[in-house]
Symmetry: C3
Subunit: 274 residues, 3 copies
Amino acid sequence: MNEREFSKKTIEILREVRKRQPLVHHITNFVVMNSTANVTLAIGASPIMAHAHEEMEAMSAFTSVLNLNIGTLTPYWIDSMIMAGKAARKRGIPIVLDPVGSGATPLRTDAVKKILTEVPVTVIRGNASEVMSLFTADEEIKIRGVDSLESVDAVRYGAHRLAGELKKVIAVTGSVDFVTDGDRAVEVHNGDSMFSLVTGTGCAATTAISCFCAVESDPLVATAAALGYYGLAGEEAAKASNGPGSFQVALYDALYTLSEETMMDKLRIKPVYP
Amino acid sequence: MNEREFSKKTIEILREVRKRQPLVHHITNFVVMNSTANVTLAIGASPIMAHAHEEMEAMSAFTSVLNLNIGTLTPYWIDSMIMAGKAARKRGIPIVLDPVGSGATPLRTDAVKKILTEVPVTVIRGNASEVMSLFTADEEIKIRGVDSLESVDAVRYGAHRLAGELKKVIAVTGSVDFVTDGDRAVEVHNGDSMFSLVTGTGCAATTAISCFCAVESDPLVATAAALGYYGLAGEEAAKASNGPGSFQVALYDALYTLSEETMMDKLRIKPVYP
Amino acid sequence: MNEREFSKKTIEILREVRKRQPLVHHITNFVVMNSTANVTLAIGASPIMAHAHEEMEAMSAFTSVLNLNIGTLTPYWIDSMIMAGKAARKRGIPIVLDPVGSGATPLRTDAVKKILTEVPVTVIRGNASEVMSLFTADEEIKIRGVDSLESVDAVRYGAHRLAGELKKVIAVTGSVDFVTDGDRAVEVHNGDSMFSLVTGTGCAATTAISCFCAVESDPLVATAAALGYYGLAGEEAAKASNGPGSFQVALYDALYTLSEETMMDKLRIKPVYP
């Protein structure tokens, strides 16, 4: 798929989300529950936030994707995620993981490892340091051994290897996003620096990926398309705003109103490998 | 009361809320704690969000209404609601229940039944499927037996019967809201489709009902008036907005600034029975 | 420091926050997690919201200030605060406490007393009734004995005495804020009545204090400067808004965009003692 085909595909996926309005089950952190629910609605899907152990199995019966996010984590919530993940596995629905703060504390790093061991995660989206925390010591040494690589390249190299080993899609987001499944790799050049001034915009990028994975069976394509669309909405929002408050408001508006013409014109999703 | 009298009454209740600034105790879900607190303030009342078992009794001593909402429920929170409900009963203050997602999982359906058994709920507000989950199997059969009824009419018929049996007010909200206490029934024609694009707007409608119940002793009147006022604020907000982000901002502004002239002119609260 | 010097100092502290981007660890209530995270970012610092007992020690290793807030409190969260407070003490980082609702229920009043006994709190910010709940019965009698004082003066008198006894900074916020460390006292005349129409604006004032304490070693100066800057941002936001929804949006924008010229011109931080 070339860049133009990726733009077309993104438009198709978004149409499909709006047609099917899939239910997106979030087990996520307290900071972003409201904002990611609003992003889900602006995209055209339906959010359900639920974490009680008693309903993790029942909830999976009518949801189309499971979105896991480890911010404001406690052991109870790790168990919720694993229960919901196992139920999702039975039903064969995709699982998207946001390893917020992985690497910062052992609780978080270990929680991510436990989730990855017990739950068939489809896509992981994190920033560079969160993704690096997933590498084993052995892999880190190998990556550091590639002396000629810049640090950004080192993270990408590691993510690409790890995605291949784990058979998952890994998205490393930053000024340019990098999405890999170990075979293919795509760069997403949409986005805006204003995102860093609003809390939960990374978590909401993961939500966008979940919405797209609910209707698109190729998770690499769904992930790259979601990041392009979400990033472009941010670009449009930045033009319409005077600071972080009005940016967030304009972001919800742009996710809802972004035209197909603008998407054809301004999406920058670039396959880089093969 | 005719439509015009309902408009006048709505204005009077809102004035009274702003004069008394009643404390509205919410035990509500994580997604909407911030937005329903802001709606409470925009209406002119004061929100208190608290759920610790240790303070449920103490909290009731200075609050004017109890708002229960079962989104993001766990067993601890059900117990909080029952403790607070029993304290509210002792003090004779109204209790308003939002059965979010009742019918979707046994945890939620059972929680609502437990609350209704142990706590003297005054008003229940839900969408059609949430209200239908309150019907017993026996009632559902009777309702389905009325073959000539459209599905909307069937829900209304069931809600009217159930309200009479339970001696409560039931509000079924949708494109037209239906409020019944088993004797009287009222339709509210205010509202806007933009509400469905913002999370927690149903929960906030329940908050509006709670604010009005804090100062108006007839809960059917308080409920219909609150839904009219809240729906009209949404209509005004929709005119001032470009999408779901700016709609939510404009909704808070409209709740705060809606003039009595606009209310007299545009409220559409229509008694339909008797 | 005179008023003009305070304006200059406020500008310097804000520059330093933006240069260092300190990590502000919040253990705060569910209502304001999102809004205080956004205020932290708009000011130029970085928020971390975390409360799991397992990571309270680890989290303190890379944070610059600890922000404690007792809204939506349960015993688990009190323990989180004490664990994090003890870790902060070991590392010598400042601790800022917002005693939300202290005085309203024994759970809250006792929690504040427990925290103050076990954790070396640097700054306490509350409204008049919250601060008064910190006075012992003995002190209250003494304060009430000063018959000639107005009630506002009585609270200030009590706060000044208590700050001296506890060797902490106490900020009593209201239409004019009063900041004291028992030796020095400062009034902050910036602010706007719109703040009272948005939930969590008091909690966010405490967040502003935390951000400033992260880079300024004199906590009285940091607290007064933060309240001046935050209050002035509210004044500017009020001019740009039509109600509480647009006020909150404009507040985030103003915190981010407030110019040094406007600060030199309009900050009203007035030393009153000595």
